[in-house]
Structure formats: C-alpha cells, structure tokens
C-alpha cells in the first residue's frame, strides 16, 4: 500500500522537482538580463524620451497574453477530443495567467499613451482588441468560478475557450475596419515602434520577450501544481470516504 502511495506521489509531482528548479533559475537569470538591458544597456529613445522604456514591458506582456490565450484554445480542443483532466488544468491555468498579462497590458498601455499621445485611451484597433479579449476571458474565468467542479465545467469552459479564440481574428478585422473611420492618434501612431527600431532596441525587446515567456512557463508550473494538488486532496478524501 505504502509503496504504491509513494509512486503515485511521484507521478502527480506535487513537490517541485528538478525541472522546476532549472526553470526557476533560468527565469531569474533571464530577468536580470532583461532588466539590465532595459535600464542600462539600451539608450533612451530620442523622440519619446524615457517613457519609451515602458514598451519593453508592455510588448512582452501583450505577447504573453496572446500566447496564453492560444494555449487555452489548443488545450480546449485537446480536452474535447481526449477528455483528459490534464488539458482542462492547463487551459484553466493558462487563461488565468493570460488574464494577468492582459490586465497589465491594459494598465501600462494608457500610462504610456498619456505622455506620448496626450490621451489615456484611444480606440486604436489594437487597444480595442485587447479590451475585448480581456472581457472574453474574464467571462471564461467567471464561468469557471460559477460552475461546480467536474467534467461538465471542463466541457463548458472548453467550448467557450474554442469559441473565444475563433472570434479573435473576426474581432481583429472588425475593430481594424471600424477604427479606420476614427481619427488617428495625434502625436505618434503606435506604428512608430516598429519603424524606428534600431539594433540595441531590437536586442533589448527580444531579451525581454524571452524573459517574459519564461515567466509564463514558471507561473504555469506553479498554477498547474496547485490544481494537481487539489485533485490529489480530492482523490485522498474520496478514498477515505469510500474506504469500505
């Protein structure tokens, strides 16, 4: 009995293993590198001034948010196909982390826009898309919160995860065509970032992107771990409940 027990514990991996340690240190190193690049290495941008440094956080956050929502879609499809709890856990964890970064994008965006564009918010297609995405996945997480745990919840969420992701390209085009009717941002368009990029800025952005991607995986491992621990507790409780 006890041998079998230990085996199962290994499998569920409730204790941070070797892989977790490596990931943690990798992320830490990546982060120090990114911070050094952002605040020491890269020169201050001429037209936008010091505020431009926000971009090195803002863009990676947006990237991680989109990546996380793509993972939600991917895992949702796999869940409906394979019906394995594993995929539901990944989808849930990824949606939560995606929401965190999506929120950060929505917070840092206006902070950058105010000194540069002169307004907190403009109905630029990218901003609108991010806002709508935030609303979709907020609803997704609320659906999780309000449904009792079990296979029904996983199925409903998987359907919403798929439907939401399929909607993204449609929303993208609709807000793009819609936004083109409105006046463009006055001072500098968001296009300015891509065109005026030089090598040191490019390198810094890449390092930051890498570091934030590592953060995503680190958070994922933490979040998935929690969900698996919950499952393990449920399993043990059940085992006690029906131990006759």
């Amino acid at each position: 009995m006890s041998a079998e027990h230990e085996l199962e514990e290994e499998e569920t991996g409730t204790r941070p293993g070797e892989g977790g340690q490596v990931l943690f240190w990798l992320t830490a190193v990546g982060f120090v590198g990114a911070l050094a690049a952002i605040f020491v290495f890269v020169p201050t941008e001429v037209t936008e001034g010091i505020v431009q440094r926000i971009m090195y956080f803002h863009v990676p956050c947006a990237w991680v948010a989109f990546f996380a929502f793509f993972i939600v879609f991917f895992c949702s499809v796999l869940f409906l196909w394979r019906r394995e709890r594993e995929w539901d856990i990944y989808a849930h964890a990824s949606a939560e982390i995606g929401m965190l970064f999506c929120s950060l994008v929505l917070i840092t965006g206006p902070i950058w826009a105010k000194p540069i564009w002169g307004v907190w918010w403009t109905w630029d297609p990218r901003l609108t898309l991010t806002l709508v995405l935030w609303l979709i996945y907020a609803a997704y997480l609320m659906l999780r919160l309000q449904t009792a745990e079990g296979s029904a919840r996983a199925k409903y969420c998987a359907v919403v995860g798929i439907v939401g992701a399929l909607d993204i390209p449609l929303i993208h085009f609709s807000v793009l065509w819609w936004g083109s009717q409105h006046p463009a941002p006055k001072i500098i368009t968001s296009e300015g970032l891509g065109s005026g990029i030089d090598t040191s800025m490019g390198i810094t952005l890449l390092v930051a992107l890498g570091a934030f991607t590592l953060v995503y995986f680190l958070l994922m491992s933490l979040r998935v771990n929690i969900e698996k621990m919950k499952d393990e507790i449920d399993r043990l409780k059940k085992q006690r409940l029906y131990s006759n």
């Binding site: 009995m1 006890s2 027990h5 409730t14 001034g49 010091i50 505020v51 440094r53 926000i54 956080f57 803002h58 956050c61 982390i97 965190l100 929120s103 950060l104 917070i107 840092t108 902070i111 950058w112 105010k114 000194p115 953060v215 958070l219 933490l222 979040r223 771990n225 929690i226 621990m229 919950k230 393990e232 507790i233 043990l236 409780k237 085992q239 006690r240 131990s243």
Partner: protein, 49 residues
C-alpha cells in the same frame, strides 16, 4: 528625464501585478500542502490499523 513618474507607475503596475499573483499562488500552495500532508497522514494511519 521628464515623465519619470509614468515610467515608475508602469513598472509599479507590472511588478506589483506579477509579484502579487506569485504571492497568492504561494499562499494557496502552502495551504493546500498543509491539507495534503494532513490527509496523507490520516490515510496512512488508518490503513496501518
């Protein structure tokens, strides 16, 4: 060096957000760990009898 406040605010939001999330994750992790240990102990004790 103008607009330093904005840079500071953005950084505060990002680091605050991420650190807060990690903090809540850790807290939940610890609580669950405690629960799990407790249950594992009881199960072991009961099956030992």
């Amino acid at each position: 060096m103008k607009n330093l406040g904005f840079l500071f605010a953005a950084n505060l939001a990002i680091w605050g957000g991420i650190v807060f999330y990690i903090f809540t994750l850790m807290k939940r992790n610890r609580a669950l760990r405690r629960d799990l240990d407790l249950i594992q102990e009881t199960v072991k004790k009961e099956s030992g009898k």
